[in-house]
């Protein structure tokens, strides 16, 4: 009763019912690969919840303090506040260790989910117009996730992460000319600086999460504005969305995904140990631990540093030290390529059209090959970060493993890309629906098929036919599977007709043929000549002048009645 009245009062002022009805009836396509981004959002939620708990007990400072708690080998030691409070979180705060570990696992899952989501978007061409902006937002969030993961990993001031922080510091130093200034500016002085931990903290818990929330909102607003893309299928066209309504079907599914993510995060957090900083001990510049890796999402940078040969270059009297290329160089190039990909692909294919229907990966063998190359490249780098562990487990000397990985890094990506390209082309050429169903004939067709030019790749069954009418005008029509559409416009020259056809159906091959029988021709639109334009302008001016004079002559009725 009271709630109903309250709701009515609210509805009368805000109009919540109609807005809510619209929102709840919103349709989302329900292919399972569209849930990866959702997993990332829910992992982010888990990060916020557990992280908030951690901030209540963590002290972001390198000021020395005496740890006094349940962990015997540290009890009474003088260590930094950051390290002491992290060990206290692990041993002395109720549920502290569960929250710490759940937070760390959620971070690993968060970045993993972002990467898988990025792969889905990449291989299905979901980044094409009109979604390039959202791609840019997404890549920015990936970069921020790496940054925040690293700052969080470095905050406890333990021996393992301190080693990583020192590597990052040296990486910044390696930038030619300005490196030392940037490092001083960012880290607040010579390493290890007392300024560093507070800065890591404020960026980790305030700045980056705030930017993240804004970007996630922007990401989702753009999806709602542009509608979600969908795979081709019966009844699915460029201007509709086929799927489930937000309420109830989609919401229930999404909620079960949320509970799944939370269950995974807390199960791992409660059962599997991660980053036991009390074992690593407090950071001290003179100490080291080995084997030492960063978390997986920055391990590719570590692997690149390990594999890169010691080459130093002098440019105009300035030294470019070896670490600059694998760390700063590779990272910059990676993200620049990611940002530029939608435009790079458009430049390659000339496809400027707006797409709501996704492609299957097989429709674009070239893109599959590029993705496979990148994935293999980074996988090799990821493994290279654990070269010492692999040497230990296999008994092969670590230098041999390094050499092997260096060769693999140069060779393996090309091999995998070639195989992926061939498989994609065979799938496109043949009738197989999955890789497992590929036959020898399919592979043969994939190998000997027509050379893939950007025009023929995406719509093999479609054609544009162009013809010249007897009166020297041009027209075109589109032939698709079981459909035939003639242009409703007639063009005065061949180029105009070609342009119009390519705008309407980008990427569809065009051929010229005879005018078809029985097509009724509307008269062509002819551009008015210059004399006509001048005359028209004069007529407009004349009408305006006459109208004003008429107004002056006739006094208005209100004046006449006075």
């Amino acid at each position: 009763m009271i709630t109903r009245r309250l709701y009515r009062a609210l509805d009368a002022r805000l109009g919540t019912t109609s807005a809510g009805r619209t929102a709840l009836a919103k349709v989302f396509p329900d292919h399972w690969t569209f849930m990866f981004g959702e997993v990332a959002v829910y992992a982010f939620l888990a990060l916020l919840l557990t992280g908030t708990y951690l901030t209540l007990f963590f002290e972001p400072s390198t000021a020395e303090t005496v740890y006094d708690g349940a962990y015997q080998p540290l009890d009474g030691s003088t260590v930094s506040s950051a390290f002491a409070s992290t060990v206290a979180l692990s041993f002395d705060v109720r549920a502290g260790l569960l929250m710490r570990q759940a937070h760390h696992w959620a971070a690993l899952l968060f970045v993993a989910a972002i990467v898988v989501h990025l792969l889905r978007v990449f291989f299905t061409g979901a980044f094409r117009r009109p979604r390039e902006l959202n791609w840019v937002v997404g890549v920015t969030m990936l970069a921020l996730a790496l940054l925040n993961g690293f700052t969080g990993y470095s905050m406890p001031d333990d021996l393992l992460s301190g080693t990583g922080l020192r590597i990052i510091y040296s990486t910044v130093l390696s930038v030619p000319v300005v490196g030392s200034w940037i490092a001083m500016l960012a880290f607040g002085g010579e390493f290890p600086s007392d300024e560093t931990t507070p800065r890591l903290y404020i960026s980790h818990v305030l700045i980056v999460p705030a930017v993240f929330l804004a970007l996630i909102s922007l990401h989702l607003v753009m999806i709602i504005r542009q509608k979600h893309s969908q795979f081709p299928g019966p009844g699915r066209r460029e201007h509709n969305v086929v799927g489930s309504r937000l309420w109830p079907a989609y919401a229930v599914r999404s909620l079960s995904l949320l509970t799944g993510v939370l269950a995974a995060v807390f199960a791992l957090g409660g059962l599997v140990q991660i980053n036991p900083v009390w074992i690593y001990g407090p950071f001290h510049p003179a100490q080291a631990t080995s084997p030492a890796q960063p978390d997986w999402y920055v391990a590719w940078g570590d692997g690149a540093l390990r594999l890169f040969p010691p080459i130093e270059v002098h440019v105009a009297g300035h030294l470019i030290p070896a670490p600059f290329f694998p760390a700063v160089g590779l990272g910059t190039v990676t993200f620049l390529l990611l940002y530029a990909w939608p435009w790079l692909e458009r430049w390659r294919t000339g496809d400027k059209a707006s797409h709501q229907i996704l492609e299957r990966p097989r429709d674009r063998p070239g893109r599959v090959a590029a993705g496979a190359y990148a994935l293999t490249f980074f996988a090799v780098l990821l493994v290279a970060a654990a070269d010492d562990i692999i040497a230990r487990l296999s008994g092969i000397p670590v230098l041999g493993i390094l050499r092997t990985l260096q060769i693999l890094l140069l060779v393996l990506p090309f091999a995998v890309a070639a195989v992926a390209f061939l498989v994609a082309r065979s799938l496109r050429a043949g009738t197989a629906t999955t890789v497992g169903e590929l036959t020898r004939a399919d592979l043969h067709a994939g190998m000997t098929g027509p050379a893939a030019s950007p025009g023929d790749t995406d719509h093999p069954a479609e054609r544009i036919r162009l013809w010249r009418n007897p009166d020297d005008t041009w027209r075109w029509r589109w032939h698709g599977p079981g459909a035939d559409l003639a242009s409703n416009e007639v063009f005065l020259d061949r180029e105009g007709a070609l342009d119009a056809a390519r705008t309407a159906y980008p990427g569809v091959p065009v051929e010229q043929d005879e005018p078809p029988e029985g097509v009724v021709l509307p008269p062509p639109r002819r551009e008015p000549g210059p004399a006509t334009k001048v005359a028209a302008a004069l007529v407009w001016v004349a009408m305006a002048v006459l109208g004003r004079r008429a107004d002056r002559r006739q006094p208005s009725r209100s004046e006449a009645s006075k």
Binding site: H31, H104, A112, V116, V272, N275, P276, Q293, V398
Partner: protein, 254 residues
Amino acid sequence: MTDVPPTPRRGRRVLAAAAGLGVLGLPLTSPSPQPSPSAASDRGTQLYQQSCASCHGQQGEGSQRGPALTGVGPADVDFQLSTGRMPLRTEHRVQEHREPVFSESDIRALVQHVASFPPGGGPPIPTVGGGHTRSGRELYLTYCSACHSAAGVGATLTNGRFAPSLFQATPTQIGEAVRVGPGLMPAFPSGVLTDAQVDDIAAYVDVLQNDRGDLDRGGWSLGRLGPFPEGAVAWVLGLGVLLLLARRLGSRAR
């Protein structure tokens, strides 16, 4: 200690093979005791001739196949034998901690026998125990963790060598290793690490190995190898399960 012996001369090869067979055959390693007045020294001599002399020489003078044992000291011999590193079973992986071949009394006899080679000397077997874990932790992180890892799991060194994990090491063996410096490990004389400090380190290693239930409070330790296995678990167990869940949730959609 070098672990890659040069190729033996032809005459010695037979001896070496015989010694190797003797070592590998378990019955040979514990021959029936023969009571005699100076049983221990006899036993030491006998065992030395059987299992050591072919490489280290009749009087410990060394050969092309093994280093000299003159003046190495009891700690070194005891360490090598009690950790199963000697006698050699294979020509590589000499740094692996294995089950010792000889019984404790046999090891004592051998140590005595080798100590009788002139000129004698060398570090004695230390008595280790009763240290403090807190200073042990600090000393361990300063002197040991760079090679043996902060978690005690060991790490890779150059040329296919590695620093072993410390999970099987007894306090005495830790003391011996600190004083002797086996393999690539530097020796720390008492001027660098006092006996009390060695006691502390051993106490902390005991925390690393025995209190594993207490130390790995977070659950499954993943071998304490750090972020690499953690990442693998996140991808396979974490994200793998979530992708399967998404697959199930989306199974009704075509």
